[in-house]
Subunit: 196 residues, 2 copies
């Protein structure tokens, strides 16, 4: 099975001292529960907004996914859209959901896809932004019949995750936070179904 | 510092149970000896030949490397060129070195670059192929004044590395082999200079 993980710096694993983020940890965990040979590509890019992802995901995945094999995509984005380096979101919520629609519709037409939602942020306005995207994306996922994992809610209730955000740059956790995200995905029925 | 590691399945870390390959391990080791914030992208693709890398490295790196920051490239390839799925090399040695010239000349014109050579293979003909590329690339690197690390020679003398090849698919090591490669790069003056 060949899987591309596509998204922003939370997918990449920015500030992960092990430099593999949650996708790498998720794949390592998967080895224990599947006989499938896993080929995993981390296509997270720091600061990537939905419009950046929309532009590059088709070519970057096509180069990596052999046409005659079992290939799947996992998307996770939104944090960069909601970030506010100039005092307002880099991508407003409506446009973000609209971009997400274009990404996910095209992706599901070609591959099995899973969608992981955005994560909590330390700064309140940034966090309100990712919370709103979490809602908008979840609604869109239901409409498109794509399996969507809300990680925002459980991570918002995790003292460890929030403390790591606060101790870091406010947007990225550390090793424990990335492990928590991996564990949420590892326990998700939709992902587990992929491993059977 | 932003670093893209570009190459084939040995860069990607195919069959690494930790799914980070030597670049991820190298970056984790680097944290102990540098104050620089490291942003690392693994752009290894399984089976990527030099012509594949020549075609995609400019766009994939440009998307990831912010123009106003300290950005560098590390290349490692050759194993896929020398592989012989049909009984002859997928890319003959002369063409491989010629492609390498195009890649490395263009890369060094834009970024600081380092070049890690190809690794030993279990099958004798495949191994003779990567040995020959190691020589050809080293000679080209001297001509272009690019720092080149011969990992073929020390890994060929490593019982552990060769045993992992034999126990696996003959081309890719396991966790220990990937760690050995990372250690070779970590101890290399040219890489250590980047961390100062």
């Amino acid at each position: 099975m060949h899987v591309c993980f596509i998204g922003d710096s939370l997918v990449l694993g920015t500030h992960d001292p092990e430099f593999c983020g949650w996708p790498g940890r998720l794949a390592a965990m998967a080895l224990a529960v599947t006989d499938k040979e896993l080929n995993v590509y981390n296509l997270g890019i720091r600061a990537n907004r939905t419009n950046d992802i929309l532009e590059r995901w088709p070519t970057e995945t096509a180069r990596r996914l052999p046409q005659d094999q079992d290939c799947r995509l996992v998307f996770s984005f939104g944090g960069a859209d909601a970030s506010r380096p100039e005092g307002y979101p880099r991508v407003d919520a409506a446009t973000s959901v609209s971009n997400a629609r274009l990404i996910m519709q095209a992706a599901q037409a070609q591959y099995p896809v899973l969608w992981i939602g955005p994560t909590p942020m330390h700064k309140p306005e940034h966090n309100q932004g990712t919370a709103a995207l979490n809602q908008g994306y979840a609604r869109l996922a239901r409409e498109l019949d794509i399996s969507y994992l809300d990680v925002f809610t459980p991570l918002s209730a995790s003292h460890v995750y929030l403390e790591e955000l606060q101790a870091g740059d406010g947007a990225h956790p550390g090793a424990t936070g990335y492990r928590l995200i991996a564990e949420l995905v590892a326990g998700w029925d939709a992902w587990r179904a992929w491993l059977r």
